[in-house]
Point group: C2
Chain length 501, copies 2
């Protein structure tokens, strides 16, 4: 490429390196760092993040960006060069709209909010968190105002996680999804053929659990030469560049799905990052298109593949061989039904495939109401409990298992939750297209051959990174805007059969 | 402190954070990083190092340093503030004497030299390395000239690792040491009572080796809440601040001392860093006084403690219990003699306590000759082999096990080797003083009580970090300049007894 684009890329690369180094430090903190290292680590990470921000919003950077934009103006609009410049321009404009003073203050406020949230959760007392959350919501409204005029006060928030997505579009899709999903869950609960999942709650040797998870994701195509798995309290995926993308998992000795499904989920994220085009390396475009698109990949491997019948036809004999005592006399059908049991429960992160979105949608609705000012923070716990009753038919016995269960609001992450459900919807919408393109999909999965699926994902999604906004990418692939229909059809078919509705 | 000192410390802290982050990335690279991550990691580390350097030598930094120096001028000359400013000033002056262009070129030349050294070692052919080494030596002379006038062309090199040390002082001490040590080794070889160390070469379960090493260094006082041990191909210690100081080890199933003594050695380094005064945190003064002083700590715990009789009186029963099959019938005396066997050998890193310095001193002599120009690089292998014959009575069968065995010259580290022997000498000189101050030392070691020793080291050495130059510190503690006498006396007594001389 031209001289200006090269200069620009070098500057982008420095910011990328600083962020990658931060990510290594975070990974270390969550896996191996000794307890004593916490304070020093906080200083190191904060210095790296601050320098990355300073380099990014500097006048030199802006000038290099402008020169590169002029230089690539006549290239193919879908070329890496044009898309990288456009992507960086978008992030630059957002970053420079928000004053540094506000960023510093927000960081201070959310640091305090995380502390009070922890205390409030430990004592199951929302009032301890209420003042800080009030301040967080207020600052999030200030944040939105930096992007005025907007159609909806929630738009600038969701845009941080789901570029280009509008609140009204999410609301429209969720309005289609929610009543149907509530009805399905009610039907399952009230007249479904009961499912017994006690077999999943026996003692399972942790080393064997580990080995099985690694065997599965290796066969998926997660490349251990460019990644690794470690343990951490909260499983996550992190990338330091497409050739070093790591996952973590959590082992629970008496509940088999935690590590097994968690490893598949994280590997889904990780294979996305490993599949990026090398031409995007050391740019922010070497990233998923959005959190929702990322979640579509993790959910696809975890649920559409990993809780499907063809998958267990292939792997259940291996699992039985590994755990003959626990599973030797349990037939495939019993195990398949157990691993797909539906049961309304209090905690989002432990929810099954059919109820998960209900946890998410109610949070989204509460966030929107908070941002609009129609719900005062003080009334949040009552509103939370009412929605759990309406959508899931249960009421949290206390705030710890209710409104205080998630960390997101304490770090200011309003706008984040809906991406979980968007991920589920996108996954199903893609899955319909994949089934058309790969009519033998079930057969290849049942033969442990994941190359066709991974190859399809690489071609249509992974390689592009963040070159396209998520809805643009989805429409290019499926010819349609986001819709809840494929997902609802999938749920009805799968659970209709399992629960004999 | 005053405003200017605080500003200065904040700037120093940013450089510290960047270097600490680099260190985390290096640690990860040598312990857990997947193979594919190498190229991205090189970019990240290089970016962090470059930014650290830019921040350090910037005009803003120089100004903050000057203002802080003025502000602390009237304080106690031994105060942290004065010493930190003086230490940073010294490093700043050195860093700014060397032009950036030279640094870039040196980095390029040594990157190539490391490649050609690897190839040359693999093929045992010095000529493959000769052109690059010639260039390295030439650039090291240019480096020295940035510090002209100097007393000796080697002075600026050794000063990088051993601040304030002069070549003539090293030569004088080595001149005292070398003939005596050559004579002792010859005496042992020619008429010592033979020692059989075959018991160390049985099969030892790696997990038990690991457990024993950790038990030992935990009892030494290495704090696992502020550190951890992992595996790596080449053992090392690294610090990201005094509350996160990590060690690594290498396990060899059929040679017990590698991991056991290696862990003690690295823990010796690590306890130095863990014992720094918290008031030095986030400054370069939060570091050992020099490589030699650092090595004095690792060698003290590895050899003066860990190969001593009181130590094995305490720990041999534990080791026997762990390995009853291998050691159940081997008595303490046999084991003690085995672990202290002296045998001239080709490889420095595998050398025993009595021969180790001979490997080091001959490298130092060769380096000085290379720098002075009295030894052309072309003649290095012959000179090397001649010295091995003169000092150790053996001749390398090839260059791989001779002149090509160490990595140091390929990365330009001339001036580094002598610090290994300085460490041995300093350790013994300190040990004499410790024995005076702690008359019950042997008894406490035999009772697994290392608090008196560690407490002494903390008070007299560790807490000071790099506030004092190493020889200044040594003289403050022992009342003497560096001398080889204590070390020679120690060797004569210990090995005279073991070998019945």
């Amino acid at each position: 490429m031209g001289k200006h684009f090269d200069t620009f890329r070098e500057k982008v690369g420095v910011v990328f390196d600083l962020n990658a180094a931060s990510a290594v430090l975070d990974w270390d903190q969550q896996t191996y760092m000794p307890h004593g290292g916490a304070q020093g680590r906080a200083m190191q990470t904060s210095t790296l993040r601050r320098l990355a921000h300073e380099h990014f919003v500097s006048p030199e950077f802006e000038q290099a960006l402008g020169a590169a934009a002029d230089e690539v103006a006549k290239l193919d609009p879908d070329s890496d060069e044009v898309r990288i410049v456009r992507h960086v321009r978008r992030e630059f404009d957002k970053a420079t709209r928000v004053p540094s003073d506000w960023v510093g203050e927000f960081s201070r406020v959310t640091a305090l909010a995380q502390q009070s949230w922890e205390a409030a959760k430990a004592q199951s007392q929302f009032s301890l968190f209420e003042p800080d959350l009030t301040r967080v919501v207020q600052m999030r409204r200030e944040f939105a105002d930096f992007f005025a005029p907007y159609d909806h006060v929630y738009d600038p928030l969701i845009d941080d996680f789901e570029p280009g997505m509008k609140t009204t579009e999410v609301q429209a899709v969720f309005a289609q999804l929610r009543p149907a999903q509530v009805a399905l869950v009610r039907e399952i609960t009230e007249r479904g053929r009961p499912v017994d999942d006690s077999v999943l709650r026996l003692q399972y040797d942790e080393r064997k659990q580990w080995a099985f998870g690694e065997q599965v994701v290796r066969s998926f195509g997660y490349d251990f030469n460019r990644g690794r798995q470690d343990k951490s309290a909260h499983p996550f995926t992190t990338s330091f560049g497409q050739n070093d993308v790591r996952i973590t998992t959590r082992l629970v000795p008496d509940y088999l799905p935690t590590a097994m499904c968690g490893t598949m989920h994280e590997a889904g994220h990780a294979m996305y990052e490993q599949g990026l085009s090398p031409t995007l390396d050391r740019t922010p475009t070497a990233n998923g298109a959005s959190l929702g698109m990322h979640e579509s990949q993790s959910r696809m491997w975890e649920n559409l593949v990993g809780r499907g019948r063809p998958f267990w036809q292939a792997f259940y004999p291996d699992l039985q061989q590994l755990f003959p005592e626990q599973l030797g006399k349990v037939d495939l059908e019993t195990f398949y039904r157990a691993i797909n049991k539906v049961e309304p429960s209090l905690i989002r992160t432990e929810a099954d495939e059919a109820t998960y979105n209900l946890h998410v949608m109610l949070r989204f609705e509460l966030e929107v109401a908070l941002m609009q000012g129609s719900l005062p923070v003080h009334d949040l716990p009552a509103a939370w409990n009412q929605k759990y009753q309406d959508y899931l038919g249960i009421t949290p016995p206390d705030d710890a298992r209710g409104v205080l269960q998630d960390i997101h609001w304490s770090f200011g992450g309003l706008g984040y939750f809906p991406t979980y459900t968007l991920g589920n919807l996108i996954a199903s919408q893609l899955w319909e297209k994949i089934r058309q393109d790969l009519p033998d999909l079930d057969r290849s999965i049942a033969a442990k051959d994941f190359q066709p699926l991974l190859g399809w994902l690489r071609t249509h999604i992974h390689q592009h990174g963040a070159k396209f906004e998520p809805m643009e990418l989805l429409e290019r692939i499926t010819g349609q805007r986001l819709t809840a229909e494929p997902y609802l059809a999938y749920l009805r078919t799968k659970f209709g059969e399992i629960y004999a509705l």
